[in-house]
C-alpha cells in the first residue's frame, strides 16, 4: 500500500538539520497540555497508562510476595484485600482498557488512515483529561482509606463496606466516559477521514480491530456507567435496587456488571489482535492470510461478546435456561478467535521471518494466547466451569489473556512503533533478553496457578491451605522474573530516548500508511494528502531502501 506521493526529500547525509516533528514543533508545558494533536495525546496516554501498568505491576508483585507463605508474609487480611483490589482496578481500568486504543491507537490510527488528525480532536483531549481525572479519583480513593471490593464491585459487599467505594466508583464512571469518547472518536474517524482510495478492505487490520473495539466501547460502557452510578446512589440513599436487605437483587448487579465487563474483555483483547495481525505480516513480509476473515471475525467477536456475559455467572444462581443459552453462545466466541490464531500461524508459514524484538514479542503472544484461548474453552463447558469458577484456574486463564496476551501485544506494538514514534532505536539485544525474561517469567507465574486452580485453590485468598504452598512459591518466583523483565524493558526504552540512536526511516519494512510519513512524523502527519492505490499488505511494492535509510 504505497501512495502516489513521492518519497520525502532526504537531507544531505552528514548534515544535521533538525527537522520539525510533532515532538519538537512547539515547546513548553502548555503546548502539550493543550495540544489537539493525536500523536501528542497518544504519547501522554502512553506515559499515563505505562505508569498505571507499573503501579499495577507493583501491586501484583506485592500480592505474590505476600502469598509466599500460607499464612501470608506482608499484610494483614484487610491490607491484602486492598492490594489485590488496587491491582485489579489499576490494571483493568487504568491500563488494559485504555492502553492499546488510547495510547497506540491514538498514535497510529490517523497515520494508518492517512488523516491529519482524529475527527474530533477536542473530544480526544477531553477523553485524555477524563482519564487523568479518573486516575486522580483512584488515587484519592487510596488516600481516603482504600477500597477492598475487588475490581468487580460485587454487591452487596460493595454497598456495606465502609471504605472509599464511592470515590473509586466515581473514578470508574469517569474512566468509562473517557473510554466511550475514544471509541466514538475512532468510529467517526474511520468513517469520515480515510484517505482517498483507502477502501474498507484496504484498511490495515489494526484499524479493523480498533473499529470493532470502538463499537464495544460505545455500546457497552454506558451500562457500566449506570451500574456504578446505581451503586453510588445505593450507598448514599439506600434505594434498594442492589441491596438484598431492602428487597434488591445482587444477581441483577452481576447481570449489569458483566453486560459491560464481558465485552470489556474484548475491548481489551481486540486491539491486541489488531497489533498482532499487523506485526505478523510486517515481520513475515507476507500478505496476511485470510485478511477478510480476520476483519469479519473482529466484528463477529464484538457482537457475540454481547451474548455471553452470563458465563461469568454459572454458579451465581441464574436459571438453568439462561445458563444453557450462555454456555452455548460462549462456545461460538471460540470460532472467530480460532480463525484468527490459525490465520496468523498461516501468515508466518513460508514468510520471510525477521526475528527482531517485535516479532519475538509477537511469537510469544501467539503461544501464550493459544494457551489463554484454549483454557477459555475448558471454562466454557458448564459443569467443568462449576468446578473451576472462582479458582486460580480462572485467574491464570484471564491472566494468560489479559497480561500474557494483551500486555505482550502492547509491548510488541510499542517495540514495533517505537522507532516511528520517537525516531530512535532501542538496544535490540536488550529487547530480546527482556522478551525472554517476560515470556519465561510469565509462564512460570501462571502455569502453577492452573494446576492449583484445578485442584481447588480459590482466588482472592490472603491465606491458604498449606497443600498449595509449592505452587504459590513457584508462582511467586515466576512473578519476580516477570517483574525483572518488565523493569529491564522500561530501562532500555528510556535509555534509547536518551542515547538517540537513529532508527531507520522505515525500520521494519512496513507498507501501511504510517511508514509513508517521515520518521518521526511532522505535526500534521503527511506533507501531501496520501492517495492509496495498492491493495493492503502488498510487499511487492515495498521500497526496501527506506528500511536502511536513517530517519532524520
Amino acid at each position: 500500500m504505497t501512495t502516489q506521493v513521492p518519497p520525502v526529500e532526504t537531507a544531505t547525509p552528514g548534515v544535521e538539520t533538525e527537522r520539525k516533528t510533532y515532538l519538537n514543533v512547539t515547546k513548553g508545558f502548555m503546548s502539550w497540555a493543550g495540544t489537539l494533536d493525536h500523536k501528542r495525546i497518544g504519547l501522554m496516554y502512553l506515559i499515563g497508562t505505562s505508569a498505571a501498568l507499573l503501579a499495577g505491576g507493583l501491586f501484583a508483585l506485592l500480592v505474590r510476595l505476600h502469598l509466599w507463605e500460607p499464612t501470608g508474609m506482608l499484610f494483614d487480611n484487610a491490607e491484602y484485600n486492598q492490594v489485590f483490589t488496587l491491582h485489579g482496578v489499576f490494571m483493568v481500568f487504568l491500563f488494559v482498557i485504555p492502553a492499546i486504543p488510547a495510547a497506540l491507537g491514538n498514535m497510529i490510527l490517523p497515520l494508518q488512515l492517512g488523516a491529519i488528525d482524529v475527527a474530533l480532536p477536542r473530544l480526544n483531549l477531553l477523553s485524555f483529561y477524563l482519564w487523568v481525572t479518573g486516575a486522580i479519583f483512584a488515587i484519592l480513593a487510596i488516600v481516603a482509606g482504600g477500597f477492598d471490593t475487588g475490581w468487580t464491585f460485587y454487591t452487596p459487599y460493595s454497598l456495606y463496606t465502609q471504605q472509599a467505594v464511592g470515590l473509586i466508583g466515581m473514578g470508574v464512571f469517569i474512566l468509562g466516559f473517557s473510554s466511550i469518547f475514544t471509541g466514538l472518536n475512532f468510529i467517526v474517524t474511520v468513517h469520515k477521514l480515510r484517505a482517498p482510495g483507502l477502501t474498507w478492505f484496504r484498511m490495515p487490520l489494526f484499524i479493523w480491530a480498533l473499529y470493532a473495539t470502538s463499537i464495544l466501547q460505545v455500546l457497552a460502557t454506558p451500562v457500566l456507567g449506570i451500574t456504578v452510578l446505581l451503586v453510588a446512589i445505593e450507598r448514599l440513599y439506600h434505594i434498594g435496587i442492589f441491596d438484598p436487605r431492602l428487597g434488591g437483587d445482587a444477581v441483577l448487579f452481576e447481570h449489569f456488571f458483566w453486560f459491560y465487563s464481558h465485552p470489556a474483555v474484548y475491548i481489551m483483547v481486540l486491539p491486541a489482535f489488531g497489533i498482532i495481525s499487523e506485526l505478523v505480516t510486517v515481520h513475515s513480509r507476507k500478505p496476511l492470510f485470510g485478511y477478510k476473515l480476520i476483519a469479519f471475525s473482529s466484528l463477529a467477536i464484538a457482537i457475540i461478546s454481547f451474548l455471553v456475559w452470563g458465563h461469568h455467572m454459572f454458579t451465581s444462581g441464574q436459571s438453568t435456561y439462561a445458563m444453557f443459552a450462555f454456555s452455548f453462545l460462549t462456545f461460538f466466541v471460540a470460532i472467530p478467535t480460532a480463525i484468527k490464531e490459525f490465520s496468523w500461524v498461516a501468515t508466518v508459514w513460508k514468510g520471510s521471518i525477521a526475528l527482531n524484538s517485535p516479532m519475538l514479542y509477537t511469537l510469544a503472544f501467539l503461544i501464550i494466547f493459544a494457551i489463554g484461548g484454549l483454557t477459555g474453552v475448558i471454562l466454557g463447558a458448564l459443569n467443568v466451569d462449576i468446578h473451576l469458577h472462582d479458582t486460580y484456574f480462572v485467574v491464570a486463564h484471564f491472566h494468560y489473556v489479559m497480561m500474557g496476551s494483551i500486555a505482550l501485544a502492547f509491548f510488541a506494538g510499542l517495540h514495533h512503533w517505537w522507532p516511528k514514534m520517537f525516531g530512535v532505536m532501542y538496544n535490540e539485544t536488550h529487547a530480546k533478553i527482556s522478551c525472554a525474561l517476560i515470556f519465561i517469567g510469565f509462564n512460570a507465574t501462571f502455569i502453577p496457578q492452573f494446576i492449583m486452580g484445578s485442584r481447588g485453590m480459590p482466588r482472592r485468598y490472603a491465606t491458604y491451605v498449606p497443600d498449595y504452598e509449592p505452587y504459590h512459591k513457584a508462582s511467586t518466583i515466576g512473578a519476580m522474573v516477570l517483574g525483572v523483565g518488565v523493569a529491564f524493558m522500561v530501562y532500555y526504552l528510556v535509555v534509547s530516548l536518551l542515547q538517540k540512536k537513529r532508527a531507520m526511516e522505515n525500520q521494519w519494512g512496513g507498507v501501511t500508511l504510517e511508514w509513508e510519513t517521515p520518521t518521526p512524523p511532522p505535526l500534521e502527519n503527511f506533507s501531501k494528502p496520501p492517495v492509496v492505490t495498492n491493495e493492503v499488505y502488498d510487499y511487492s511494492k515495498l521500497d526496501l531502501e527506506t528500511t536502511i535509510t536513517p530517519a532524520k
Binding site: 480532536p121 466511550i180 454506558p222 449506570i226 446505581l230 435496587i241 436487605r245 428487597g247 437483587d249 500534521e524
Partner: protein, 244 residues
C-alpha cells in the same frame, strides 16, 4: 508542511447579522465536518440510550419480582400531572424542531424565540416535577430531607420511606417502586436541566449570529439531545404513571 488549503474553507454568512464559519483544519469539506460531528453525536445518543436502558431493565426486573409494589405504588402518582408534563415535553420538542428549522433557514429571531419557548417548556416541566416530588415527600414516600440519612440496620427502617399515610402498608418492599421512580425521573430531570442549559448556550450563540443555513451544527445537535430527553419521557410516563 501542513495542508494550507485546509485552513481556507470558510462558509460565508448569509447576511450582515450572521458570522461566517471556518471549517476545522483537519476536515477537507464542510460536509465532512458536519457529518463527522453528527455521527459522533448519534453515537453519544446511543450511549445515552444504553445508560437509561440499564434503568429500564431494572424497572422490568423488579416489576416482575414485586408486581404488587408497582400496582399500589403506581396509584400514588397523579397521572394528570404526568400527562400534563408529557404534553409540555412534546410541545417543547416541537418548538425545538422548529428552532432547528429556523436555524437551517437563517431566521435568527425565530431561532431565538423557539429556543426561548423550549427553555420555558423545560422550566414548566421542572416546576410540575417539583410539585409532584414535594407531594410525595410530604406523604413520606420519599422524604428528600432524609435521603442522605443512611438506615437503621437493626430494624431495616429506611429514613426516606416513612409512608405517613400507610398507603403501601402490607405491600412487600413498598419502597421499591418509589426508589425506581425517583431514580429514573431524577436522572431524566438532570438531563432536562442539562438540555435547557445547552439550549441557553445556543441562544447566546444565536444572538451573536453564529448559526445560519451555512452552519447550524450545534443547534442541530442540541436539538437531537432535547428530542432524546423527550423520547425517554415517552416511555417513562406510561411505565410509571399508567401501567402498574
Amino acid at each position: 508542511m501542513s495542508h494550507d488549503d485546509h485552513h481556507s474553507v470558510v462558509i460565508p454568512a448569509p447576511g450582515p447579522e450572521f458570522k461566517p464559519h471556518t471549517v476545522a483544519h483537519h476536515f477537507d469539506t464542510p460536509v465532512q465536518e458536519f457529518q463527522s460531528a453528527k455521527l459522533g453525536f448519534w453515537l453519544f445518543l446511543a450511549t445515552e440510550i444504553l445508560l437509561f436502558g440499564g434503568l429500564f431493565a431494572a424497572y422490568f426486573y423488579f416489576h416482575e419480582q414485586y408486581p404488587e409494589t408497582f400496582v399500589v405504588g403506581g396509584k400514588q402518582l397523579d397521572w394528570r400531572l404526568g400527562g400534563l408534563n408529557t404534553c409540555v415535553l412534546l410541545l417543547s420538542s416541537w418548538t425545538m424542531a422548529m428552532g432547528v428549522r429556523a436555524a437551517q433557514t437563517s431566521q435568527k429571531k425565530k431561532l431565538l424565540m423557539y429556543c426561548g419557548l423550549t427553555v420555558l417548556g423545560a422550566a414548566i416541566f421542572m416546576v410540575i416535577k417539583f410539585f409532584e416530588y414535594k407531594a410525595k415527600s410530604d406523604h413520606g414516600l420519599f422524604v428528600f430531607s432524609e435521603m442522605l440519612g443512611g438506615y437503621d440496620t437493626a430494624t431495616g427502617q429506611l429514613p426516606w420511606f416513612t409512608d405517613i399515610h400507610g398507603v403501601m402498608a402490607g405491600v412487600p418492599h413498598g419502597h421499591m417502586f418509589f426508589a425506581i421512580y425517583v431514580t429514573m425521573t431524577g436522572i431524566h430531570g438532570l438531563h432536562v436541566i442539562i438540555g435547557a442549559g445547552l439550549i441557553i448556550w445556543i441562544m447566546f450563540g444565536a444572538a451573536k449570529g453564529r448559526f445560519h443555513a451555512g452552519y447550524y451544527l450545534p443547534v442541530d445537535l442540541v436539538g437531537l439531545y432535547w428530542h432524546l430527553v423527550d423520547l425517554i419521557w415517552i416511555f417513562l410516563f406510561p411505565l410509571l404513571y399508567l401501567v402498574p
